[in-house]
């Protein structure tokens, strides 16, 4: 299913799979325990919206790919009863927290009887990027013709990742090598950024144009959390005065966990011809799974992985870096976005030049748009905005966020550098 090495040549299904529909649920900061705002309900909303957007009926769908994990960090306690209202609203799944803190294809099909012709299901774990690659390959390989691709997130009460092993006085497993020193959460982008500025020069203030630009783009994303709930612009001064989380990572370098579901409709290029929306063709997909030599991936290992990823993406898509109209690489945390941008050699930016590039015009109005989606920084922790934006930009449906140069070819993916999956999108199949 995955393409992870250089030298594989052009992807055998280049231009033969297309995205033709997008469906988003509303966003919330927390689940309020009502069944209609559960992650299950939002998943159903997103799936139905995607089919409506594509102009297809549910019985025309034969594939369903999703990530079964939906938690943003807090878990539903094993001994906590399921709310009665939720149990009355939905048929149960094999996992008692299906629809609350996880999802399964079985739960969705049971609660969406209109999906009567599903004969291919598969999980793409970790995030939407993975599910997209799985669905694209499955359609290309003929395992499905028209496939729904879903990623949903629940955000239960409690602080992010403060429970479990982190609350104990002892630590086993892989955490025995890092937890005693507190090397968790955004420590890894912090030490990468420290290494980066030590190696190439620059400083944290130079991140401000990127983060402010991302927040601005996010406020132009009507499906996003900040646009819907807190449409507050971020200024350079706000960014520079924010509290540190792990210096040099500050509050605005992190993303806000939210509840949301997003779905896409993928189909064959042939079938896409007569659909409601302009097809956006998948030119290639690739995975990155760098293995650290020791306790943590170093900056140099990260840079090598990003550079290899860039070469693989172009090789499989049969394009060169100068053919990219825009890039939507992952940004959660913001301090590693430039590493992936450099790996892509986007607009000729080489290793060590990313922060300087941020000081130029990277807006949607300019010739070199960077992260026009606004990413997680702009719309909340989902790892999906970059994909939705690529599809919308190429379809010309990005609204106020539409880049001013022609949007013919885009790239999105994450959550590299520590591992992820990536897609090249095109306005034409070749």
């Amino acid at each position: 299913m995955y393409r992870g090495t250089e030298g594989l040549g052009v992807w055998e299904h280049k231009g033969k799979v297309a995205a033709v529909g997008i469906g988003h649920s509303p966003t919330d900061r927390r689940w309020d325990l009502r069944p209609e705002t559960s992650v299950g309900a939002y998943a159903i909303i997103a799936l139905r919206n995607a089919m409506e957007d594509a102009g297809i009926s549910p019985d025309q769908v034969d594939g369903l790919v999703l990530d079964p994990s939906t938690t943003t960090g807090a878990m539903w306690p094993a001994d906590r009863p399921i709310p009665d209202e939720f149990s009355q609203a939905f048929k149960p799944g094999a996992n008692k927290v299906d629809g609350i803190s996880s999802l399964s294809t079985e739960w969705l099909v049971a609660n969406m009887p209109e999906l009567s012709n599903i004969n291919f299901t598969m999980y793409g774990t970790t995030c939407m990027s993975n599910a997209i690659c799985v669905a694209a390959q499955a359609i290309g390989d003929g395992m499905a013709n028209t496939c729904l691709v879903l990623k949903a997130w629940d955000n239960l009460e409690g602080r992010y990742a403060q429970g479990g092993d982190n609350a104990l006085d002892t630590i086993g497993g892989s955490g025995q090598w890092s937890n005693p020193w507190g090397a968790t959460g955004p420590y890894y982008p912090a030490h990468w950024f420290t290494s980066y500025t030590n190696k190439y020069g620059g400083n944290h203030d130079m991140m401000a144009p990127f983060v402010v630009n991302s927040k601005r783009n996010g406020l132009l994303f009507p499906e996003g959390f900040w646009a819907q709930h807190r449409p507050e612009p971020l200024t350079v001064e706000d960014y520079l005065s924010a509290r540190w989380i792990v210096k040099p990572v500050n509050l605005y370098d992190c993303d806000i966990p939210i509840t949301v579901a997003v779905a896409y409709v993928f189909t064959t290029a042939e079938r896409a011809k007569d659909m409601k929306q302009k097809p956006v063709y998948i030119l290639n997909h690739s995975e990155a799974r760098p293995k650290p030599r020791s306790v943590e991936l170093t900056l140099e290992e990260c840079e090598d992985s990003a550079a290899s990823l860039g070469r693989r993406l172009y090789e499989g898509a049969g394009i060169t870096a100068d053919q990219l109209s825009f890039e939507n690489m992952y940004d959660g945390y913001t301090l590693f976005h430039h590493l992936m941008m450099e790996g892509l050699n986007y607009r000729g930016v080489k290793q060590g030049e990313g922060l300087d590039f941020y000081q130029t015009d990277i807006s949607i109005e300019g010739p070199n748009p960077v992260s026009p989606s606004g990413g997680n920084a702009g719309s909340g922790r989902t790892r999906i905005w970059m994909h939705t934006d690529c599809i919308q930009q190429i379809q010309g449906r990005a609204g106020a966020r539409q880049i001013r140069i022609p949007a013919n070819t885009g790239v999105s993916g994450g959550p590299h550098p520590r591992g992820g999956d990536f897609v090249v999108w095109g306005s034409t199949p070749d």
Binding site: Y160, A167, T170, G185, S195, I245, V295, T298
Partner: protein, 137 residues
Amino acid sequence: MPKQSPIPDELSKPFWDACNEERLVVQYCTTCDRIQHPPEPTCDQCAPNEKLEWKEVSGRGKVYSYGIMHDCRVRILQPDQPFNIALVQLEEDPGILFYSHLPGTPVDQVPIGASVQVEFETTPTTGQKVPEWRVVG
């Protein structure tokens, strides 16, 4: 600085036992003459033909990078915020890294490239000792 006590498993027990004797050891593959850390069931480089042993190392290294923790997820460390978290490169192989709070180094005054020497710190819950690193010279 009170830390979580590591709970050794079958693979890591020789490392943590050595720490309790105030010795720093890492896995060593006699086939490819390479060390690795953290320990793994097989050699990263030449499995399945490897022969892994434990090898005592000098305990000398250099500061590779760092971050300053202000909002830690690990509860037992939260009273000591903010604190340094450095990555130390082992003298025998700079690809081998250890975390350190750099005891004795003021917060946010971490000298990248500085020489460090290992010492061992007792964790409060089980008494397990863990490696720490102090800037020298």
